[in-house]
């Protein structure tokens, strides 16, 4: 019986991108449905009634919500090219850093483009501090997963298409502060699963400009 896989998503969402990259790494065919978040589809509201958010993975009619839960699910169902290390301790470290990205990075990144002045400066500093910690964790490895993309790579790399927005709005250069992260992004972009998934950073910036006007942040 063929698998039916649907992904409810929104094109610039770093959370949705995690699912797209994971599915591509595993070679899974799926139907991509882009949501209009100001007018959510009945399917989205039905399959994620608690949070009403994207991404949602619908596998043979069953919905899986929350991007980290989705990535782990994809990894456990389609066992080729495992994203998680074998060793329990290394697995725990991978989960820790993925959780760190979620707890810290998204929040300060968003605050960079949503705020001005002192608040923005504070957000920039926090953002750079987070990336420096992540640089430390990467060390000399080509990827967080070692020789190939792993869980942390998939969780973190989607933010790369938002870097241009943070840098332009925040008036700073991520490469100057965290060159190893940018080098790692370039290596990730050599992988088709990443380069084909990530949208053009300039398009993301245009969207943010539009959102800022809409929410009166200028």
């Amino acid at each position: 019986m063929a698998d039916e896989v649907i992904l409810l998503d929104f094109w610039p969402s770093p959370f949705g991108l995690r699912a797209r990259i994971s599915l591509a790494e595993k070679g899974v065919e799926y139907e991509y449905k882009d949501e209009d978040l100001s007018n959510k589809s009945p399917l989205l509201l039905k399959s994620n009634p608690i949070h009403k958010k994207i991404p949602v993975l619908i596998h043979n009619g069953k919905s899986i919500c929350e991007s980290l839960v989705i990535v782990q699910y994809i990894n456990e169902v389609w066992k080729d090219k495992p994203l998680m290390p074998e060793d329990p301790y290394e697995r725990a470290q991978a989960r820790f850093w993925a959780d760190f990205v979620d707890k810290k990075l998204y929040d300060c990144g968003t605050r960079i483009w949503r705020s001005k002045g002192e608040a923005q400066d504070a957000a920039k500093k926090e953002f750079i501090d987070c990336l420096k910690l992540l640089e430390g964790e990467l060390g000399d490895k080509p990827f967080y997963g070692g020789k190939n993309l792993g869980y942390v790579d998939v969780v973190l790399v989607p933010f790369a298409c938002w870097f241009y927005t943070y840098e332009t709005d925040g008036n700073f250069s991520i490469e100057n502060e965290c060159p190893k992260i940018i080098a790692w992004v370039k290596r990730c972009m050599e992988k088709e699963s990443v380069s084909k998934a990530l949208p053009d950073p300039h398009k993301v910036y245009e969207l943010v400009g539009f959102l800022k006007k809409k929410h009166g942040v200028e």
């Binding site: 608690i50 839960v69 329990p88 301790y89 989960r95 910690l133």
Partner: protein
């Protein structure tokens, strides 16, 4: 299986998660009570990112963040009973609700104690109760008629929610509200009794009277 230490504090529900998981695996461990004020050198060294408890030290290697610790214990002690379900979809559902508890439900519970003014308190209580209602429905779906979220024995989601039972009882007594109401959430009430009575939980669940005294000292310190 090596040297195991848990760095934590007896009132913390997050610390309890680690201890329940180790008990389920019949793993021996040393419980080190963290001083907190000031934070110990051991804590600062083993959790430099967050400087928070619990920290699990397995052969001196630290694992941080309670739900990550629980999953690590499940992976590292493969011969004991499984804490995570075996089916990937069931695992996803357990992880989803564990994330809901940590990201949405627990913050509303802790808001009750810190709420400024009656209106804020009432609102916080409403949120906690509506969250519990969702968890009652989740229990009916996950347990499939059995004793725990995970089925016949305690699993990830039982641990994720059950660790708060002491604090739920404390909040009920101190705020004069019923959160685990047998009229509205009968399944969870039954589950709570079974969870607290389980041998892996009994010795690490703090007594409500002790938690009340702790909460009074922390949230309502006597005026100078």
């Amino acid at each position: 299986m090596g040297e195991v230490k848990v760095l934590g504090a007896w009132p913390s529900p997050f610390v309890m998660r680690a201890r329940i998981a180790l008990n389920l695996k019949s793993a021996d461990y040393e419980f080190i009570q963290e001083t907190m004020n000031p934070k110990s050198q051991l804590l600062l060294e083993s959790n430099p990112v967050y400087k928070k408890i619990p920290v699990l030290l397995h052969n001196q290697r630290p694992v941080c963040e309670s739900m990550i610790i629980v999953q690590y214990i499940d992976d590292a002690w493969p011969t004991g009973p499984s804490i995570l379900p075996s089916d990937p979809y069931d695992r996803a559902i357990a992880r989803f609700w564990a994330a809901y508890i940590d990201d949405k439900w627990f913050p509303s519970l802790s808001t009750i104690a810190r709420a400024q003014g009656e209106e804020a308190r009432v609102e916080a209580i409403k949120q906690v109760i509506s969250g519990i209602q969702l968890l009652e429905e989740a229990f009916e779906k996950c347990s499939k008629g059995k004793s725990f979220f995970s089925g016949d024995s305690i699993g990830l989601l039982d641990i994720a929610l059950g660790c708060f039972l002491g604090w739920i009882k404390t909040t009920e007594k101190m705020a004069g509200v019923k959160i685990l109401d047998p009229e509205t959430v009968p399944h969870l009430v039954g589950w709570a009794e079974r969870f607290c009575a389980d041998s892996a939980v009994k010795e690490v669940m703090p007594e409500t009277e002790k938690l009340i005294a702790f909460a009074k000292a922390k949230f309502q310190p006597p005026s100078k």
